[in-house]
């Protein structure tokens, strides 16, 4: 039974509510509202309705940049979905096998990079992949792949993919842990019963354990989605705000930063920045909404 609320309830709740409202919820709403305003040449701000969005979606200059960042972002997310999450599943499945010696040590090492700053990881890989230093080329020559080495971070065609893989390298530990936790939470009896009926390790994994952890895989995917669609730090650390070469690594996060603060000869605009943030909000919201309203329910139905 719940206690009746009095002064204590208010005192307990108020500080958190005030800070959260003032510095998270309210600024978000204010940003959505500011997206409907425009700034003229002398810095006067006035209501312009949907004009900023018309620019972002139909003006050639703006839409070119937005489409480029959006396409890059989709590719960035696709690489995470197709590489990070399957690798995480594989590692978690191996770790959760019974009687793997040193599983705790493996777990500890695999989770380590997620604790390091993206800035450190970005620079570390930049050094390692640098043709100037030549470490990667040397290592690849050792295994006979020397001629396949290229300045991947510097080439327009490969830069985004390389950065995405660096990000995968760093963060694979998080989905791995979530999946691992779900796998070890499966009751022993379920697996045992199947083993008694003669199902092999593969059969047990595919037809018993995998369906049971589908909700976790869904959750991992939506967390990846939200993280990827507001990613900024890694690109900024490795490539700077211009997301070179030739904007080929530009994500919505870096475009938002440039729109807001300006770069080179372009001056920044708070109102255009707010409009872009609104579009990012809508992208993330539709992804999260789709997940909670449609996908999660189906996954849970299969799992139960």
């Amino acid at each position: 039974m719940k206690q009746k609320a009095g002064w204590p309830a208010l005192v307990f709740l108020a500080p958190a509510l005030v800070i959260y409202t003032a510095f998270s919820a309210w600024p978000l709403l204010a940003t959505l509202r500011l997206g409907l305003y425009g700034t003229d040449d002398v810095g006067h701000v006035s209501f312009v309705g949907l004009d900023n969005f018309r620019k972002l979606l139909f003006d050639e200059h703006w839409f070119g940049a937005f489409r480029n960042a959006m396409v890059d972002n989709v590719e960035f997310f696709a690489i995470h979905t197709l590489v990070q999450n399957p690798v995480a599943l594989l590692l978690a499945a191996l770790l959760s096998l019974r009687g793997v010696r040193g599983a705790a040590a493996y777990r500890t090492v695999l989770f380590l990079p997620t604790l390091l700053s993206v800035v450190i990881i970005g620079f570390t890989w930049q050094l390692i992949l640098s043709p100037l230093w030549g470490v990667s080329e040397k290592l690849m020559t050792l295994v006979g792949l020397g001629e396949h080495f290229g300045p991947w971070l510097g080439q327009e065609e490969t830069a985004l993919r390389t950065i995405a893989l660096i990000s995968v390298w760093q963060f694979v530990g998080i989905p791995m842990m979530l999946i691992y936790a779900a796998l070890i939470a499966i009751p022993e009896e379920v697996v045992e019963a199947a083993a008694v009926e003669g199902a092999g390790a593969w059969r047990i994994f595919w037809s018993i354990r995998l369906p049971l952890i589908l909700p976790t895989l869904g959750l991992v995917n939506i967390l990846t989605f939200v993280g990827n669609f507001n990613a900024f730090d890694l690109i900024y650390a490795v490539k700077g705000a211009l997301a070179g070469p030739n904007f080929s690594t530009d994500l919505l996060g870096t475009l938002f930063y440039r729109t807001f603060f300006g770069y080179q000869s372009e001056t920044g605009s708070a109102t255009m920045g707010a409009a872009l943030a609104t579009l990012m909000f809508l992208v993330i919201l539709s992804g999260v909404g789709l997940y909670f309203l449609v996908i999660q329910r189906r996954l849970q139905r299969i799992a139960s």
């Binding site: 719940k2 800070i19 959260y20 230093w133 842990m177 900024f232 996060g253 909000f281 919201l285």
Partner: protein, 282 residues
């Protein structure tokens, strides 16, 4: 059928498992080791033999000398420690208080408030950056650590409240009833009965919350980029950009940024991982 083939296949399977896990661990460790190793070498050593251990000929601490000689580095560490420490303490205390209020007391709009807070878990606070900056300008808080602390508290509270609510709800009813029968006030019940009971959960939330704050680049960059208020993450970013061609200094700066985390992780990894797996099972 002899037992031999079964044992051989089990052995083969186990070898494959260790090969995969061990191989991936190498992939994780080698880049970090490479940086640490080369940070102790002279420039010639770094370029002539990047994969070798430092020898008497190539051993050099020039990079460390340069980084540590920069007085600003110590200052940045202090800034990061203050911001992370104060935010963390506030998130844990205010988060536990809010979780207690939402689970223990019945009032109108209770559910709605919980949902309002939960919204912050899925929607990144960064999207509100434009208005946050305007707000900080209006409050005259730009380039202060206070601005960072306030934003990080707002960022960390939703997840903290959600996880802590789960644990606060498990505090036995008899304990609370007994305390109330004895005439103990609501505030004392929270601080002396509930808070000590949920300590393990608080530790888990602490780790989840601390790492993103310490490592954040975005808010230090837009809210507090001044020399006085730079955090270590932003500082490393600027330092490496500035000394890009001075490989000794860059490698030393990266190593110095990694080492404290390696040490902390070596000490706390057990609790941390247990916390994550237990938290996720819930």
């Amino acid at each position: 059928m002899s037992r031999h083939p079964i044992r051989a296949s089990a052995l083969g399977r186990s070898a494959l498992v260790h090969l995969t896990l061990g191989g991936y661990c190498l992939l994780v460790l080698c880049p970090i080791l490479l940086v640490l190793l080369n940070s102790f070498k002279s420039r010639a050593g770094i370029f002539d033999d990047p994969l070798g251990l430092p020898t008497t000929a190539t051993l050099s601490l020039a990079g460390y000398g340069k980084v540590l000689g920069d007085a600003a580095v110590g200052h940045m560490f202090v800034n990061s420690a203050i911001v992370t420490g104060v935010s963390l303490a506030a998130i844990l205390l205010l988060g536990a208080m809010a979780a207690w209020a939402l689970t223990e007391y019945g009032f109108f709009g209770n559910r709605l408030l919980a949902l309002f807070l939960a919204f912050g878990i899925m929607v990144p606070i960064r999207l509100g950056s434009v208005a946050i900056l305007q707000e900080m300008v209006a409050l005259d808080l730009v380039n202060t650590l206070t601005a960072l602390v306030l934003v990080y508290i707002a960022q960390g509270l939703p997840l903290a409240v959600m996880i802590l609510s789960e644990f606060v709800g498990q505090v036995p009813q008899e304990l609370k009833d007994a305390a109330r029968c004895d005439g103990v006030g609501e505030y004392r019940i929270f601080f002396q009965v509930v808070l000590p009971l949920i300590r393990p959960a608080v530790a888990t939330v602490a780790v989840f919350t601390m790492v993103p704050i310490w490592n954040d680049l975005w808010f230090p960059l837009i809210l507090a980029p001044s020399e006085q208020t730079q955090t270590i993450t932003l500082g490393v970013q600027q330092f490496v950009g500035q000394f890009a061609t001075d490989w000794n200094a860059v490698l030393a700066a990266l190593s110095l940024a990694v080492l404290p985390i390696l040490v902390l992780y070596a000490v706390f990894s057990r609790q941390l991982i247990r916390g994550i797996t237990a938290g996720a099972v819930k």
